[in-house]
């Protein structure tokens, strides 16, 4: 279990690194002149490419972040390991649902 989670976190980190680089680049470009819904949606709506890009981003982050949160809670709090596992799993589910909903909202 621990070995699998360790591997999954590193694997998702390798997926996320280039996605974060592109996302940061996009943020730096998009922020110029202020943000508007029209400008954001013009870029993303109906785009299969951005749907796949941010869909993968959400799935990877919904695996990566809860494993990190699980490590922090196990090392820095006195919570029982079963409670920590439940919290991490719930957090991952939340990220997946609201994240995919956000992708759907901007590309749909």
């Amino acid at each position: 279990m621990e070995r699998r989670l360790f591997g999954l976190q590193r694997l998702t980190a390798m997926v996320l690194a280039p996605l974060v680089l592109v996302h940061l680049g996009l943020v730096l470009v998009a922020i110029r002149g202020g943000l508007t819904a029209g400008e954001i949606l013009a870029r993303t709506q109906g785009s299969v490419g951005w749907a796949l890009f941010y869909g993968l981003f959400v799935v990877a982050v919904a695996i990566h972040a809860p494993i990190g949160i699980r490590n922090v809670l196990r090392e820095w709090t006195g919570l029982a390991s079963r409670a920590v596992d439940c919290l991490a799993l719930g957090f991952g589910g939340l990220l997946l649902v609201v994240g995919l909903r956000a992708v759907w909202a901007v590309v749909g």
Partner: protein, 113 residues
């Protein structure tokens, strides 16, 4: 700070961990805000807030935290998955990672204001 913790690698560990925690707290709210895009008017009403100086400053903080987490995370991947080099070269990844994050933050500030 105990001596074994007053070390550049410990500060890098702390920077990576705290930036990850902050991003994890922020992410659900970011996704919820983007979910408003189902109605462009609702998203625009929200985006009005992003014109406020204090909100831009918060966005700058998040951009820097994301960059720090990525650069320090890349350092961890290299440190854990690549053969260990002679000497302590991995310390050499910390300051450039921090500097690159601050450059990203600087470019953001120039664009935002």
């Amino acid at each position: 700070m105990r001596p074994h913790r007053n070390h550049r690698a410990y500060w890098a560990f702390l920077g990576h961990r705290l930036s990850g925690l902050a991003l994890a707290v922020f992410l659900p709210f970011h996704f919820l805000a983007l979910g408003l895009a189902v109605e462009a008017a609702a998203l625009d009403a929200f985006l009005v807030w992003t014109d406020l100086g204090v909100v831009k400053l918060a966005e700058w903080g998040l951009v820097v935290l994301l960059a720090v987490h990525m650069f320090f995370g890349l350092r961890l991947l290299v440190l854990e998955l690549r053969p260990w080099p002679a000497g302590d070269a991995r310390l050499g990844w910390i300051l450039p990672g921090l500097a690159a994050s601050l450059v990203v933050g600087g470019v953001f500030l120039i664009g935002a204001f």
